[in-house]
């Protein structure tokens, strides 16, 4: 400008302008619609920063590049977020009703259905795996897998994962109603038993050892989740537990948003693949919900109608939205029917299930 220095105006491209609009939409969703604000606000603003021309912020050595290369691509931030999630997760409903582990497993079917669909649409196996994991409805897991298998699609995969997690209350109810009768939805379940402190303490240790033995590649995710949970349930490291669930996860969330925004430049985001990924995200979430409900139906039949099949849909590990959806549907079918705690069992099982599924995909496909 004025022959003194270069401005961004003459360097602006149509792609950058479109991305600024998309960044504004993400900010609108986060701030005014309260859709996953903790993630979409930093991601939206970071996308805005990344698409302002000639700022150098995404150049080699730029702050967003440094965050992405050193903290996101290495997997450090998603893993620390998982630790933070562990400090905030109560596995008691799962411990009280261990059979719900299988409902959490059934909902992971969505991952593999979406993987197959992505392959049909022409994605490579690594990309298909990264897209499929959206069905796990677990943000850090999705980011962890995408950075390892297909970093080139990290931006759209992350946006799809977090957007659909926020849309669980809209996506799930029609599927639940389609696969259950009114009578099914009215089934009341008994109150869960109390779980002893010893059980709670032993659980993270046993899970870590068992997963380490059978799916070693899932240990970074499951191990961090369980470490955080051990902080919480042991009761002897309250400071660490509070730090994991507050300062650590908050700092990591900010850095995660900036790192994801780095990948949301026009040349990476504005292409047909992004639309395909967003479509496949719906497939992943829908089939995951359906998988959980169908196994719930089977359990209901086998138990003589003692299990409400709806709780299977909470196996989609969007905690606690998926469990809340079940509660809302139960209340809608029969006021006074409380299923929230029963649905939290498959819900937290889904967190472990998606981490295990991610570990399997990484074990099969990731080449360091």
């Amino acid at each position: 400008m004025f022959g003194v220095f270069e401005t961004g105006i003459e360097s602006m491209t149509i792609g950058s302008a479109v991305m600024l609009i998309i960044a504004s939409v993400l900010l609108y969703m986060a701030i005014f619609k309260n859709i996953e604000p903790l993630l979409l606000a930093p991601i939206g603003f970071a996308a805005l920063l990344a698409n302002l021309p000639i700022t150098g912020i995404t150049d080699p050595g730029g702050v967003m590049t440094l965050i992405y290369v050193n903290l996101i691509k290495t997997g450090i931030i998603p893993l620390f977020i998982f630790l933070g999630i562990g400090t905030m997760t109560d596995f008691s409903p799962l411990l009280a009703n261990p059979i719900t582990f299988l409902l959490g497993a059934a909902a992971q079917v969505g991952i593999f259905v979406a993987l197959g669909a992505a392959l049909i649409l022409g994605f490579s196996m690594d990309q298909a795996a990264a897209i499929g994991i959206i069905g796990g409805a677990d943000g850090p897991t999705t980011i962890y897998v995408a950075t390892r298998l297909a970093p080139e699609i990290l931006g759209p995969v992350t946006v799809a994962a977090y957007s659909y997690m926020a849309l669980v209350p809209i996506i799930q109810p029609p599927i639940i109603r389609a696969l259950t009768s009114h009578k099914d939805r009215c089934i009341a379940m008994p109150k869960l038993r109390e779980v002893s402190t010893k059980e709670k303490v032993i659980f993270p240790i046993v899970v870590t050892i068992a997963v380490g033995m059978f799916v070693p590649s899932a240990v970074p995710l499951v191990g961090m989740l369980m470490l955080g949970n051990l902080f919480k349930v042991s009761g002897v490291v309250e400071r660490l537990s509070k730090t994991g669930g507050n300062e650590l996860i908050n700092i990591c969330t900010i850095l995660l948003g900036l790192g994801i925004g780095y990948m949301m430049t026009a040349e990476r985001f504005l292409n047909l693949d992004t639309l395909k990924i967003l479509s496949l995200g719906i497939v992943a979430f829908s089939t995951a919900t359906a998988g959980g409900v169908l196994l719930g139906q089977l359990f209901s039949k086998l138990s003589g109608g003692k299990i409400n099949p709806m709780i299977g849909s909470a196996g989609v590990s969007a905690v606690p939205m998926a469990a809340r959806v079940v509660q809302k549907e139960a209340q809608r079918a029969k006021p006074g029917n409380f299923l929230l705690m029963q649905a939290m069992g498959p819900n937290v099982a889904g967190v472990i299930g998606s981490a295990v599924a991610a570990g399997i995909l990484l074990g099969l496909l990731f080449v360091p």
Binding site: A96, L102, S124, E199, V206, V211, L364
Partner: protein
């Protein structure tokens, strides 16, 4: 009296000096000849990589020993010249490119336009070359295998965890609520009761 003529006088018998001079002359002549041959073969042209792949960078490197101008061209298998360039060399090498070529067979031509070699062609290392499609690494596992193994292992591991959890629950059952201890507060309660009684009294 005649003086004796030494035996080693030049003109009469070959001496060591003559042998040395001739030998040095031959050596120098040989070295000059070799240098001349070397100079003559100093101009060469090569493409990198020697087995180019479509979509990957492709360069042409030309070495020369003197200032010259060279015309380069690449023609495809139908003889169509789809790329040409004129480059000048100043006692060294020049690299042209990177170019990106599609799959197919190509011929590289080069002609000196100036210098002692004007009208000649440099020595080609790979005048005719083929550009191959990129070799895609085969997928480690096919889709069906990944899906079947994935679903099976997720169910197996979570079923195992369910079993462990069930067993743990049996070994460490629900803790019974501890009886409320009131002994520590009994004195306070008695004092409060006494105070209330005192006020009423």
């Amino acid at each position: 009296m005649h003086s004796r003529v030494p035996d080693n006088k030049i003109g009469r018998r070959p001496t060591i000096g003559i042998y040395a001079t001739v030998s040095m002359t031959i050596i120098i002549a040989f070295m000059l000849a070799m240098a001349g041959i070397s100079a003559a073969s100093g101009e060469e042209i090569r493409t990198e990589p020697t087995l180019p792949v479509s979509g990957e960078d492709f360069t042409i490197t030309l070495n020369a020993t003197e200032n010259s101008i060279v015309m380069l061209s690449i023609e495809n298998e139908t003889g169509y010249v789809f790329w040409s360039d004129i480059v000048s060399l100043v006692n060294g090498s020049v690299t042209i490119g990177p170019l990106s070529l599609a799959e197919g067979n190509y011929t590289l031509n080069a002609t000196f336009w100036s210098g002692n070699n004007a009208g000649l062609t440099p020595t080609f290392y790979n005048k005719d070359f083929s550009v191959h499609p990129p070799v895609e690494a085969p997928e480690k596992y096919d889709a069906i295998f990944v899906i079947v193994v994935g679903i099976s292992v997720v169910f197996s591991v979570l079923a195992l965890l369910a079993l462990f959890t069930y067993i743990t629950g049996r070994f460490f059952p629900e803790e019974k609520a501890k009886p409320v201890e009131i002994s520590d507060d009994s004195e306070k309660i008695a004092a409060i009761a006494a105070a209330i009684k005192f006020r009423r009294g």
